[in-house]
Symmetry: C2
Subunit: 139 residues, 2 copies
DNA sequence: TCTTTGTTTAGACATAGTCTAAGCTAGGAT
DNA sequence: ATCCTAGCTTAGACTATGTCTAAACAAAGA
């Protein structure tokens, strides 16, 4: 797994101290933080970091294609550093736990031509929902 | 006459004038309005209708399982009366046009057991993205 | 050094949605 | 019919999330 800072550097994008802290906060597997969670964690290392810079930086990383912006619940967006590794998501309806998952095959192939309404279809994302092991026990 | 109103009545749910206007505003295929769009359209027939009632009513219809709440873009939620016909969505990245689509097979079957992280997986929704005929021409 | 360009910041602003408290309405009991 | 009660509707306050602005700041290049 190539780290996010390394991938960002390839875009001639200035890695300022603020941007580095934000990018490093986003490292890892199954990481899907909200902007506020990122701000809170990044502020542990750089307390003067501003909310505007977190939003600016996240939006730029999304525009560069190195971070995915996820909007599943209509509350706050979540940011996923795993943009170089196509995957889908599995979400617990009890506690919100979110996991990266990989389905077999390409969902675009499961959409027949007569269901495409003339669109040029380029991407497909699957959202799986269910209950995680902890929430099954609690049920 | 009104399919959604008929379905709602089965839940012993009082169909007030306000609720009827909101439900009838939601009738149709490929209907995915925001709460504000529903308020605006419903107010054409009942000008004194309040924003709070629109939100209350939509949330109750979602809780009854007769309307789907969609959150694709992190902006406003959209409401889909087509809850009795399982389907997925195809969204134009140019103009936001959204169509109901039907894929072949069940996406849950395409998620291997070793990708389920111990979850009991109950639902799967596919979001297809591309460009609609108009936006392909405009490109 | 000076200049230019891009970055960061606080706070104002915008939007979407929820909550509260009061008034209203419908239906059941008397 | 009148009263009572539970539920419904309403305006507006409030919260949460995110964007915008203008000024200060920082870095690279001449
Ligand atoms: Mn992910
Ligand atoms: Mn739909
Ligand atoms: Zn859970
Ligand atoms: Zn389009």
């Amino acid at each position: 797994m190539s780290d996010l800072v390394t991938r960002l550097r390839r875009h001639n994008w200035r890695i300022t101290p603020q941007r580095r802290v934000i990018a490093e906060t986003l490292e890892g597997s199954h990481v899907h933080f909200t902007a506020d969670e990122i701000l809170e964690r990044a502020c542990e290392r750089m307390p003067e970091l501003s909310r505007a810079t977190v939003y600016n930086t996240l939006n730029e990383m999304v525009a560069l294609g190195e971070v995915l912006e996820l909007a599943f619940d209509g509350r706050s967006k979540r940011y996923d550093p795993n943009a170089d590794h196509a995957h889908h998501h599995l979400i617990c309806e009890g506690c919100g736990l979110m996991k990266d998952v990989h389905a077999v095959g390409d969902p675009i192939e499961w959409l027949p031509g007569d269901e495409r309404h003339g669109f040029a279809v380029t991407r497909a994302a699957i959202t799986y929902r269910g209950r995680c092991p902890d929430c099954q026990d609690a049920a």
